[in-house]
């Protein structure tokens, strides 16, 4: 008796009642539990469904083959069937062959045979069930693997060698023969679509059965790849390959050897990415970095890149030039070193500026002075930018700080220079007494001096500030056109110099020479400078010069005439002398010659007097007027009727008079000469009253005669050169002219009072000089 620890439930199927009874009996004796005895599978179906037997034992009948229920059962056989049969029929044999759940025991058999058959069937079924479950799982995994394999973005491939190879493990480097063998035999056996795409293959193309070599650009690189892989078993490898379409692709992958249990190399597994784009970005990044550095190296400014993790310690990792501020390379490698160079006055500003650096805020730049190696201060505009690390988690990665120091030294120096020059220019403009101003393109006054403002005050007394005023705001209507016209002409590029006159109530007419100059900045006319030079004095001098030139011209003309007149008389008389005339007549001619010579002499004397007055310096001394008068009278004795004139001299001055004796002599000579020559001979007696009077600052000399007098119509031109007073005047017309010139030189005045037929009074007023003085 077999003791069954677990009694399997068995269903019996037999249409032979006797054999069924017998089998039941034997099974029971073996300790099995028989659930039910059914004549056919059709009859047993209900029990099978409801009780789920663990084994079906059935008496074989070839008719089962046609039984629909049996066939149905066979389709999804979850319970093993043990057929009992006398003979092994072909149908039964075939059935046993095709299904692992169908078994056979041939009659006759001992109980123990039945038991072991049952045990075997149950065991097989159990294993089979297990196997089926594993198979399902395996199938599922394979499906997932396939899916991954096909869908993977990375290219995956297997390359297998038909003849696995082993080499002695102590040899680190594989023998060359191994390398050569693999090189020639490794063949791609499986790959996904991504690999084909990486190599730009057409959808229908593949790389199956292609040598592994075809993935690589050259034999050398392939060999290098294999050698590396053999050495390391697993490696990362990057290479570039020119593809059929001419483009170059770069690949990077993880590759590993596939080994069998004994460690022989079967093949290679590769998982590979196309990194062409990444490479290009890397290259572009490198180029742009190089460009930045090159650009920075040429910049006059200082550009510093610093790194820090915590803002406690900041180190300069890049400086655009080796010697900043003249210090040797790497002498300044941190903000602290830089701070040592900051000007004491700027130090607090800079410290405050850098205080917030860890806040990563961006502040507007500050201006700071830094001491260079030579000890000079240089101006910089300083600014920084903090760039956060890519991985912005706290405490991780490095912050990048960009310091930008823009050198302002030159700029500030130029600015100061410009300021100074501007101030100098303004001072220069201001110091000029001539009105100066400038206008901009909009014709508004820009710069001007006080002289200009004073000029404008004549038109607009209330104007305090001219800068920014339009021209119409500073000039009155009647003036505006002149200035506007010439300024506009100057804007066309031509310098203008124009005379201009202004009339003022107080000053009268003022003459200006107005110069308009274009202001040129970078070949553009940006404004006009106007300088109005006051040439009134020059104008007066010009007129005076014109007059004096005219006088000189007249003087030469008349004196040549007056010098020549007596000469031509003498020539005429000499001609007559040569004629056949009486001696008496000849004597007359000689007298006439003497007279002409005397006349010539007088003219020459007058001219000498005139010239002396013009050129000799003034020489002051005590003068005895009366003595000079008599000296002159002596000289003039040769004049006709000179002795007829009576001279009355009255000196009313208590002191000795001071004057230039030579010049006074000229005056007295000509006054006396006039009085002698223009005596009225019809009068009973002719006389002259000479009176001297002293006043506060002046003294007067009065010459009053009872001569012919001067007609009213002549009086206004009396002092003109070569003016003669009447028809009978035989003089040169120089006397009064010379008197006037000399008196003017002596800072005095001449006045003439005369009545035709009554006489003439000439009054000369001269300054009263107390001491001997010399005035040049």
């Amino acid at each position: 008796m077999i003791i069954q620890r677990q009694k399997p439930l068995i269903q019996l199927i037999s249409n032979d009642h006797v054999s069924a009874m017998e089998l039941e009996e034997r099974l029971l004796s073996l300790g099995y539990v028989v659930l039910a005895k059914n004549k056919s599978f059709e009859q047993g179906a209900a029990v099978f469904e409801s009780h789920q037997p663990e084994l079906i034992i059935a008496e074989w009948d070839d008719a089962f083959i046609d039984d629909i229920y049996f066939q149905q059962l066979l389709q999804e056989l979850s319970v093993p069937i043990l057929f009992v049969s006398l003979a092994l029929t072909p149908a039964l044999h075939q059935l046993c062959q095709t299904s692992r759940m169908v078994h056979l025991i041939q009659r006759s058999f001992a109980d123990i045979d039945l038991h072991s058959a049952i045990q075997q069937v149950l065991g097989t079924a159990s294993i089979y069930k297990q196997y089926t479950k594993y198979e399902e799982e395996l199938k599922q995994n394979a499906r997932l693997l396939q899916l991954f394999f096909n869908q993977a973005l990375s290219a995956i491939f297997f390359a297998i060698t038909p003849t696995p190879l082993r080499w002695r493990s102590e040899l680190q480097t594989p023998p060359l023969a191994v390398l050569r063998h693999l090189q020639e035999t490794l063949t791609i056996t499986k790959h996904n679509r991504s690999l084909a795409e990486q190599y730009r293959l057409k959808p229908e193309e593949g790389l199956i059965k292609q040598p592994l070599r075809c993935l690589f650009p050259s034999n050398e690189i392939y060999e290098h790849f294999l050698a590396t892989l053999l050495e390391k078993k697993q490696c990362r490898f990057t290479f570039s390959k020119e593809l059929a379409d001419g483009s170059v692709a770069t690949y990077e992958g993880n590759y590993s050897l596939i080994l069998d249990e004994q460690g022989a190399v079967i093949g290679v597994l590769g998982i590979q990415q196309d990194i062409t784009h990444r490479k290009r970005h890397e290259r572009l990044l490198k180029i742009s970095k190089q460009r930045f550095e090159r650009l920075a190296a040429y910049s006059p400014d200082i550009i510093i890149v610093a790194h820090t993790q915590d803002f406690q310690k900041i180190r300069f990792s890049y400086v655009n030039k080796p010697n900043i501020l003249g210090f040797k390379e790497k002498a300044i490698d941190s903000p602290d070193k830089l701070m040592e160079l900051v000007h004491p006055q700027d130090f607090p500003t800079v410290r405050a500026y850098f205080q917030d650096i860890s806040q990563k805020n961006e502040y507007p730049p500050i201006q700071v002075r830094l001491k260079n190696q030579a000890g000079e201060w240089e101006w910089f505009q300083c600014q920084y930018v903090v760039l956060s690390p890519e991985d912005e988690q706290e405490g991780k990665g490095y912050y990048e700080i960009l310091f930008y120091l823009h050198n302002l030294t030159e700029k500030i120096r130029y600015e100061n220079q410009l300021k100074e020059e501007k101030a100098n220019l303004l001072a220069l403009i201001e110091s000029s007494h001539n009105p100066i101003f400038s206008v901009d393109r909009k014709l508004h006054v820009k710069t001007y001096n006080t002289a200009f403002l004073n000029l404008i005050h004549h038109f607009k007394p209330a104007l305090r500030e001219a800068a920014g005023q339009p021209l119409s705001g500073v000039f009155p209507k009647e003036e505006l056109n002149f200035w506007l016209e010439h300024i506009q002409k100057t804007f066309l590029g031509e310098k203008q110099e124009v005379p201009h006159r202004l009339h003022f109530k107080e000053k009268g007419t003022v003459h200006y020479e107005v110069a308009f100059y274009p202001i040129i900045e970078e070949s553009q006319i940006t404004g006009v400078t106007v300088i109005a030079r006051d040439v009134t004095e020059q104008e007066k001098m010009r007129l005076a010069l014109e007059k004096s030139n005219y006088e000189l011209d007249t003087f030469i003309y008349r004196s040549s005439h007056d010098l020549r007149a007596p000469l031509s008389s003498i020539l005429g008389l000499l001609q007559l002398l040569r004629m056949p005339v009486s001696d008496q007549e000849k004597t007359h001619y000689i007298q006439l010659i003497e007279k002409s010579v005397a006349k010539l002499d007088r003219v020459i004397y007058s001219l000498i007097d005139f010239s002396r007055n013009m050129h000799l310096p003034l020489e002051f001394g005590y003068v005895d007027v009366e003595q000079i008068v008599y000296d002159c009278y002596e000289q003039l004795q040769s004049l006709p009727h000179a002795d007829r004139l009576r001279i009355h001299f009255i000196n009313g001055c208590p002191e000795e008079l001071v004057s230039d004796e030579n010049r006074l002599r000229i005056v007295l000579y000509h006054l006396l000469s006039n009085s002698i020559r223009y005596q009225d001979l019809h009068k009973e007696e002719t006389h002259i009253h000479i009176t001297i009077e002293c006043h506060q600052d002046t003294w007067t000399l009065s010459f009053k005669d009872n001569g012919k007098g001067i007609a009213d119509n002549i009086k206004q031109n009396l002092f003109h050169m070569f003016q003669r007073s009447n028809e009978e005047n035989r003089g040169a017309g120089l006397g009064l002219y010379i008197i006037k010139q000399v008196v003017q030189k002596l800072q005095g005045e001449v006045e003439i009072k005369s009545q035709l037929g009554e006489g003439t009074e000439v009054i000369i007023t001269l300054p009263l000089l107390k001491e001997k003085t010399i005035v040049l």
């Binding site: 007149a565 008389s569 001609q575 004629m579 006439l592 002409s596 003669r724 009447n726 028809e727």
Partner: protein, 140 residues
């Protein structure tokens, strides 16, 4: 050979008495004119002509006129002379007799149609001969 007088009456207008005397004597010696009328101012010369407008036989055929005279000088004389009737102006030919040959004077006078010649003092036999030739060429 004795020449016939060039003109009947000559008038000398000059403020210089010596020059008038010289001119008169040379005219007399060379027998240039029958008569010489001397006026020592422009004013008296004008007055003489004015007084003789209706007695042409007393009007001078030739006037020797000085430029440089007081009040009424040669220029004023010529200006006033313009006012005389046409027959007076036609009869009285004028010769300027000046001590200077200043260009300024010559330019001023050269336009005047009654001035036939410009002579620099002193008046000589030669200059009188050239006036004589000029007058005869004008007459023919």
């Amino acid at each position: 050979m004795e020449k016939a007088p060039a003109v009947d009456l000559v008038m000398l207008v000059d403020d210089n008495d010596t020059d008038n005397f010289i001119s008169k004597r040379i005219i007399e010696i060379t027998k240039f004119a029958n008569r010489v009328e001397i006026k020592n101012s422009g004013k008296s010369a004008l007055e003489y002509i004015e007084a003789n407008v209706n007695t042409p036989e007393n009007l001078p055929d030739l006037i020797f006129l000085d430029i440089n005279m007081p009040i009424v000088d040669g220029f004023v004389f010529l200006f006033e002379f313009e006012m005389f009737p046409e027959e007076v102006k036609k009869k009285c030919k004028i010769v300027i007799l000046s001590s200077s040959d200043n260009k300024r004077d010559i330019d001023k006078i050269v336009d005047n149609e009654y001035v036939i010649k410009f002579i620099t003092k002193p008046l000589t036999e030669n200059s009188l001969n050239s006036v004589r030739d000029l007058l005869s060429s004008m007459a023919s």
